[in-house]
Symmetry: C2
């Protein structure tokens, strides 16, 4: 698949250079809290269940949202390593990522308003199996970290517009 | 489950006030790129598959990493609405979230180095069903947006430390 992928990357770059409008992409997700803290997510044809562990009030039927953030970062690093190794002709036998993130839960629980609710910091260990030179792997690492979308999202600010729409239950409308 | 959850939140807040060390939590994820852009993720006892759609070089066996970020934000909003509605005694029949995020793929594909690789912006529509007053729902919305962990992670900067460790395939060690 490597030669096909290398061609796909080159073709895509050429398309986006010629016609930047084609590079505009919109991704979507919708979810619905069904019971307690359990939510069912739909992303195109894919489904996943998100929940909290019992210690945080859930029924542990899936990973929780902050764990999903780590999963997004790890898999994005792996895909970006694979894509750039292929594009640059650098051998890459395997790549896997382990992540840890620290949260001070006083933030979420509003115990101390000076404590942020999200991760204070995230540590990642990217494990590479490759017989490429150290120089090539350092080049690969730099280009990956400069172009990994989820690393950009987490380590920099993204503007989020939050709309809220309210519907009234039938019972209250009848009163 | 509402009364039990309300008590759990109150108890947790009291514990964290008395002993802030107990509020320190570390979340983890590990993943492994198995084939092409497909990665298998392990989070505690939970498994999920991440992949890219065919147009981006994958086999579409799961959502992609930037879609997972949206799923994390949507479910975190929902859980935070449920938790604070319960804690504040505000009725909340249902909550669901729809999200869209825009990416200019010239960033990821290194076609234009001035273009960021992550989301340029994210739009969320939080749909609430409730017979609470508009004033209470506005209060709820404000406290949720001030304490939602994934909203903090995405809309603010998180420091990420990236380590890379390299192992050499057996074949190259034998040379």
């Amino acid at each position: 698949m490597s030669a096909g992928l290398r061609q796909l990357i080159a073709d895509t770059q050429e398309t986006f250079r010629t016609d930047p409008e084609k590079a505009r992409a919109t991704f979507k997700s919708s979810s619905n809290l069904t019971q307690g803290f359990r939510s069912e997510v739909s992303i195109r044809d894919h489904r996943l269940t998100v929940d909290e562990p019992a210690a945080l009030g859930g029924t542990d039927s899936g990973p929780n949202p902050v764990e999903l953030v780590l999963a997004a970062l790890g898999t994005c690093q792996e895909i970006t390593y694979r894509a750039y190794a292929t594009a640059m002709g650098i051998p890459l036998e395997s790549v896997s990522v382990e992540l840890e993130g620290d949260i001070d839960l006083r933030g979420f629980f509003a115990v101390d308003e000076s404590v942020r609710s999200g991760y204070k910091n995230i540590r990642a260990n990217v494990r590479i199996k490759s017989d490429a030179s150290d120089t090539d792997l350092q080049k690969l690492r730099e280009i990956v970290n400069a172009h990994c979308p989820v690393l950009d999202i987490i380590s920099n600010k993204v503007p989020v517009q939050m709309e809220m729409s309210v519907t009234r239950p039938l019972a209250s409308r009848e009163m």
